[in-house]
Symmetry: C2
Subunit: 134 residues, 2 copies
């Protein structure tokens, strides 16, 4: 039960943008790629859904780059993971009952719900700002 590189790299990407928040110049992917040792090409892929979700704004051309669209304390790690990994619940049925035909009689459902809540809580209560200062 692992996060993929999308979630992990994407979080690092977002923390770099959070650290740059408030500065005059946007942060280009080339710079993030250098700091985090991740290829620009892969970062380009990860940033698309983050931008589509309205968490990021971009400026094209020379001296361009990306900036957070919101304050770092208004974005949670949970949001970022949700966008990049999809639903982060440990089992599909918790968020989508139609997934399982045995939904009513399943002896493990409440168990997964307990687990799901623990995960959601840990990650939705933490903002980029808090993650940075930790």
């Amino acid at each position: 039960m692992k996060l993929s590189t999308r979630g992990r790299y994407g979080t690092r990407l977002m923390l770099q943008l959070a650290a740059n928040y408030g500065k005059k110049t946007p942060l280009p992917l080339t710079e993030i790629a250098r700091r985090e040792e991740i290829s620009v090409k892969y970062l380009e892929q990860l940033i698309i859904p983050l931008k589509a979700a309205g968490l990021i704004e971009s400026r094209r051309g020379a001296h361009g780059g990306y900036v957070l669209a919101k304050d770092p304390d208004e974005i949670t790690i949970g949001q970022v993971l949700q966008i990049l990994e999809g639903n982060i619940s440990p089992v599909p049925c918790v968020k989508d009952p139609s997934f399982c035909i045995k939904y009513e009689t399943c002896n493990t459902r409440k168990l997964w719900e307990t687990m799901d809540k623990a995960i959601s809580k840990s990650v939705c209560e933490m903002t980029l700002k808090e993650a940075l200062s930790a």
Copy 2:
């Protein structure tokens, strides 16, 4: 970040054995397969590591089957998942620092540790007995 069928089916398997705990006859996989609608062949595969870990004992031949080797309140969901899924931490580096070359400078490590603890706690504090009665 999903559990695979190994972890999910294996937990259902263990809960069936927990429900049978104390009864005179062991529970055969054919019966578990019928109740849970999982093929015997796949259950056979899942039960191997559980037995190897000492959570289960087997009896061969007619009227054979499996029984828990311990009381249901001495086995946690966390143990079961650990055996079937391997390490359930959301990122590899939390349990194995050598995995990551950026370990010292990583801005996300503490974040994953927080998440890891929340998951471990939720799942290691719940025993089969509790899961059954929930």
